[in-house]
Symmetry: C2
Subunit: 381 residues, 2 copies
């Protein structure tokens, strides 16, 4: 156990053949067993899943989004109502993304300068200023356990000039975030500021960015700007250039990633934390993760299939409902379809992480990786 | 305890001042404490609420719909998968409505003759024949505990000629339902056929219909054709003309009703069972039942309100979330808004029934009725 009393990373086991590590990230709202998947609750709700079900399916830490909550309901409302934990009825750890990703994903609505980024509101078109100081102010008011620094994610990770400029700006913005963060008290209890390294698909820029970011002694670090449309080999090389060089006594978070394949790739390089909207988004689109790949529940093929979505799954959906029933809910447009598929998919991601944690402890991580990736390759071949 | 081994009505207490009674309806899938509200799961799902949550909030018996399940997924699919209980993951009692109400509500798509009704499918426009024999066949295959006879609900309850014709037809159709029902085995365990009396807003036709329907010795009886647009006084007089004359040793079910006011009115006449789509429909439309009436959660008024929907409510939603949070979910279009409001609203109806049952047992039913109806009158005045 290192760091402050409030946040620490405990290393429990390492893989002898890869960089994979099994640990535990301690926060004021409880521990997070790593490697961990964090479901995304952009607007302070993991879409369609109540917090008590999240607990049942093994979620320990969830995300929320600074930009979206700033627009609605506003951080002042959340703060007045006791902060994000109380507001969304989730007493476990929460992480707020900084809005840096929205600057990237909403780039058609955004103008970035050294001072910060001006976005058009997705609600009413009004200009919204996000800069290191305003983002820290919003995240302080929201009161998540972990708050992300405001970074600049380059729009094309393969354009070296653009990546270099955005990475330098990310470092200068981190300086401002750290200074502003340390100048303030938190209204809702202790918070950890995580720095984000950029560097696009360039190994040397990734290494340089890691050095600049870890120059600040922070309770955790993230790898940003990955999985923004580039191919898997670029993801792999970006993660390999960054993750192993982040401090071993702090949690490492790969932002916005992604798929079971990506998890194995990144955990092998020593990544601890992941988030992605895919399990809930695919769930709402009537797709289920299974050991034979993603299946579309609207398919006629499942119309009389009495088996659960995944025979190996222990989630409440697989314990109670058949593929045929869920297909019926999908084809009749029932809202329970998206709810049930989202629950199953999030549990699928958590089970994948649980299996990785057990395998790292048991010395069988490489065998598990080969088994899972082999099965995925066979079904997608 | 009377009737067969499989279905019986147990009388526990009666009100000295009204016809209200506290009882228990025993079915092969467990008991139903009456007066009871049955949530509506038209397409084999109570919209947005998982069965485990239904159990938590006190649902004992749920409805499903013959016509809609015939269209999708088809009773053959449900039967092949083990019947409705297994299909929808609900092991408590289930009642299937016969499709008679859809003949009424989809009358622009329907042609009724003595033989039966031909509806246009709401899915693909194909003709669908519903008659006493086909409806019993479908309900046998679905396998609910209680199955409703196929009746003819007149389109205008105040048009005497029309009501008289539809009521006579309902009686002839009941004869055919009973004969067909008794000629068959059930593939999924014992079933109880309930007869439905009609008679519109006419007391003499209601009385005559009760006599015709109870001429068949059935395990339960329903009052149909009520709450189809007429005023509350017409509802009251129709219920008063029918309910007290139904056999005291069988459950009495008032179909499709309705509101807290209607519940008190009908329970006072000795009605035991109710169903209505309002708690889930209003929930999806962002309205919550509360002791001060129905409130619209989109209203700016709740934006910073940290109180639960209903301070007296013991539902999981009121235990965990504020009005401000639920308003946030509503205004941002989050699906959890409809889910949470539906859960609360169904629990609100169940709590109303629980309070009635306790009051009947405790001899305070009239006082409770005055308290609740008085509060509603004050808030709607």
């Amino acid at each position: 156990m290192t760091l402050s009393d409030d946040f620490s990373y405990e290393l429990i086991a390492t893989c002898a053949e890869t960089g994979a590590r099994r640990g535990r990230f301690h926060t004021p709202h409880g521990p997070v067993d790593t490697p961990a998947f964090m479901p995304v609750g952009t607007k302070a709700t993991v879409k369609g899943i109540t917090p008590d079900v999240l607990e049942v399916i093994g979620s320990q830490m969830v995300l929320a989004n600074t930009y979206h909550l700033h627009l609605r309901p506003g951080e002042d409302v959340v703060s007045e109502l006791g902060g994000l934990h109380r507001f969304m009825g989730w007493n476990g750890p929460i992480l707020t993304d900084s809005g840096g990703f929205q600057v990237f994903s909403l780039k058609h609505l955004t103008k970035v300068t050294e001072h910060g980024a001006v976005l058009r509101s997705v609600v009413d078109g009004d200009p919204v200023l996000l800069n290191p100081e305003s983002v820290i102010d919003i995240e302080r008011a929201l009161g998540a356990d972990v708050i992300m620094a405001f970074d600049h994610c380059p729009s094309d990770p393969t354009n070296r000039a653009e990546v270099e400029a955005a990475t330098g700006r990310t470092h200068r913005w981190l300086d401002r975030c750290v200074e502003h963060f340390r100048s303030q008290d938190s209204p809702h209890g202790p918070q950890a500021l995580f720095g984000i390294c950029q560097g696009g698909a360039f190994e040397d820029l990734r290494r340089r960015s890691v050095d600049a970011v870890v120059a600040h002694d922070l309770p955790g670090y993230a790898i940003g700007g990955v999985s923004v449309g580039e191919d898997r080999e670029s993801v792999r090389s970006a993660v390999a250039a960054a993750a192993p060089h982040l401090p071993a006594d702090k949690p490492r978070y790969l932002m916005g990633v992604g798929t079971p394949q990506d998890f194995f790739l990144a955990v092998s390089e020593g990544v601890d934390l992941f988030d992605c909207v895919t399990p809930t988004r695919h769930g709402r689109n009537h797709q289920a993760y299974t050991p034979i790949g993603r299946i579309n529940l609207r398919n006629q093929r499942w119309a009389r299939d009495g088996a659960p979505l995944d025979g190996d799954c222990d989630c409440p959906v697989c314990q109670r409902f058949s593929r045929a029933y869920i297909r019926h809910l999908c084809t009749t447009g029932e809202m329970l379809a998206g709810v049930l598929l989202s629950i199953h998919n999030v549990r699928y991601f958590h089970r994948m992480m649980e299996r990785m944690r057990a395998a790292i402890e048991g010395g069988t991580f490489v065998a598990l990786r080969e088994e899972i990736l082999g099965a995925i390759q066979r079904t997608t071949a």
